[in-house]
């Protein structure tokens, strides 16, 4: 009898996902899907609200990457009032750097959560370890000193966010055309030099270096397993600057293939000319793809692995991250890296990159500048805006329109997890074929392998569906007739 295996909810990813694996009479995998079954709502909720509420309102989609949503919305509002990139206006140095500081702080904090809390325990204990051990609380018991450092690192990232946005979650910093405050010298010095109970920036960089080394050690011991696990082809997408290096806050969108040849490069305001979205009846999450290449060839990977594949290098003022990136690039001889678990290597490199970028900003006197906002004439109003940033999980887009009274009439959000939808489904299929194919018994380790594959993307399904609230993973098994024969909920 053929069977269908369903994993629901996928543990330790944000939001609620369900994995179904269909097995035939010989227990061979015939299909595997990641379903997202939560209803999306924010694009509708925001309609009718005053335009200036959007960055405050829509950041509440997520408790992890809220700064990205806030900044993306702010960039869209810049456009809307005629003070944005769509009107050819360059933001003033102080507000742009303040925004960047908050953005990098969140990336450091978010990546630290994903990498150290969720992924490192798996690296240290193995994916076959019992669930109660392979999580950060297992790490607390096994290596409290490491956890102490991680707690300090996350706390420091939160202090950056708090210094910029006023509070550690869902704060307000950006306003249309700029920001509402600069960074005081006292706040700057506290982050640079640390204090009792707070790391200095140099300690943060040291800990970030250790994070990269942790992956190197793990990789050395488990090279074959790590490299073989879910090698998934896809295009890679990121915002880049004029040098072709990743810019997490602003740039043009570049998409490269496995040879790192550019297959598309465009101003993100034109995204509708390049991207289409497919839907499936079994998932609320859409499937974006490049129109020109079609759905199969035109799906992209975003996030840490996508970014390090796209970026040519990092700037010379982030030397440690630049060296770490060169080692990463050398590993695949300059080709794009499609090894799913190397996403965690890329994530560790980006923690270091963020830390070095923050150090550079903290030493920049523009953060104490007094010119905080551009206020254009009423006649500059465009009523439409698009914002894109590289959120921790990948390219994030907000697109709004408002009427002349300032009420939002349209909102479209394309989040990183949605961009990764196809590649995540390919990953689930690859892992299922590797670990489940031909096996009569479904083990805990096999189930977890599927989760590991999904978790590499650090997906935020509540972001992807714009739903609210805590959503837990479910896995189910069906026979060839579609009858449920097994189900596990963790």
């Amino acid at each position: 009898m053929s069977r269908k295996l369903v994993i629901d909810p996928v543990t330790r990813i944000e939001g609620h996902g369900k994995v179904t694996v269909h097995l035939d009479d010989q227990n061979r995998v015939t299909d595997a899907k990641l379903h997202v079954v939560e209803f999306r709502g924010f694009e509708k909720f925001v309609q009718g609200h005053p335009y200036w509420e959007a960055p405050m309102f829509l950041q509440r989609i997520c408790g992890i990457c809220f700064v990205s949503h806030h900044l993306c919305g702010a960039k869209a509002l810049d456009d809307m009032i005629g003070a944005g990139y769509s009107s050819g206006v360059q933001m003033l140095p102080t507000p742009e750097k303040i925004r960047r500081l908050g953005h990098y702080g969140q990336q450091l904090q978010s990546h630290t959560t994903a990498y150290f809390y969720l992924i490192v325990p798996e690296m240290l204990f193995g994916m076959d370890a019992p669930p109660e051990k392979r999580n950060v609380l297992g790490l607390v018991e096994a290596n409290p000193e490491l956890v102490k450092r991680v707690v300090a690192l996350r706390k420091w990232g939160q202090e950056v966010i708090k210094a910029v946005l006023g509070k550690r979650m869902h704060g307000i910093e950006s306003i249309p055309g700029g920001v509402n405050q600069n960074l005081s010298k006292a706040a700057r010095d506290r982050l640079l030099n640390g204090e009792d109970g707070l790391l200095s920036i140099d300690q943060v960089i040291d800990y970030a270096v250790e994070g990269v080394e942790l992956f190197h050690d793990f990789h050395k011991k488990h090279r074959d397993e790590v490299d073989r696990f879910a090698k998934v082809p896809a295009l890679n997408m990121s915002l880049v600057d004029d040098e072709g290096n990743v810019d997490y806050y602003h740039g043009k969108i570049r998409i490269v293939d496995v040879n790192k040849d550019t297959v598309a490069e465009f101003d993100y305001h034109d995204y509708l000319d390049y991207f289409a979205e497919a839907t499936e009846e079994w998932s609320y999450m859409k499937f974006p793809y490049l129109k020109e290449l079609g759905r199969e060839e035109g799906s992209v990977r975003v996030g840490p692995l996508g970014r390090v594949n796209v970026t040519k290098s990092y700037s010379d003022d982030t030397p440690l991250a630049k060296a770490a990136l060169e080692k990463f690039h050398d590993y695949t001889d300059g080709k794009a890296n499609d090894m799913t678990l190397h996403t965690n290597w890329a994530r560790a490199i980006e923690i270091l990159h963020s830390a070095e970028l923050i150090k550079n900003l903290l030493n920049d006197p523009d953060l104490q500048g007094e010119q905080l906002v551009i206020t254009p004439a009423d006649s500059a109003w465009t009523g439409e805006g698009v914002g894109v940033v590289e959120a921790p999980r990948g390219t994030l887009l907000h697109h709004y329109r408002a009427n002349r009274d300032g009420a939002i009439t349209f909102a479209n959000l394309v989040v990183a997890t949605t961009q990764n939808n196809t590649v995540m489904n390919r990953t689930v299929r690859a892992v299922a074929e590797e670990y489940l194919d031909g096996k009569a018994e479904i083990t805990e380790g096999m189930m977890n392998a599927i989760e590991v594959g999904i978790r590499a993307y650090d997906p935020c399904l509540s972001c992807a569906t714009h739903a609210m609230g805590q959503m837990p993973l479910v896995v189910s098994v069906f026979d060839s007739n579609g009858a449920l024969v097994d189900e596990q909920v963790r």
Binding site: R12, I64, Y117, P144, R154, Q158, M468
Partner: protein, 174 residues
Amino acid sequence: MNKCADVAAEHGVLNLADYDHPSALVYGIGNVGRQDDGLGWAFIDWLEHAALCPQAELLRHYQLHLEDADLISHKQRVLFVDATKDSQVDTFRIERVTPRMDFSFTSHAISVASILATCEQCFARTPDVMLLTIRGYEWELQEGLTPAAKNNLDATRNHLISISSLTEPIRRYQ
């Protein structure tokens, strides 16, 4: 004695006067944009408006994070206040928290017991931690408590005031 008081008696009296000290923390968990999820913050609002525990550190956060283990390691006495959907809780519940790795962790959720266990393991400190949960009913995208949740908050406040007035108000941290 009502059911709430039974619970309180079972786990020890929560005397608000014990928290009127700089080494105490009262930590409201919740989201005022989600109806009754705002109960934890509403409790903090009440402390502030009534000028109770003026020496304590009062915090409002959306959710717990592992670094809260570091935060509470600097305190001697901590009161977490949260809303609960648990139908076993009639109005409110007061419980003393013991350190326990209960593996509830996701990056969106971690238990108070796990925070305390992490504090103990990583920072070699075990503050006295109490958890006050107040029953809520609605979690929709809307500001303001439901009338039933507001009644529960009022009952909690009345209970704590009565208990605090009955117990020795001045007991500090020698």
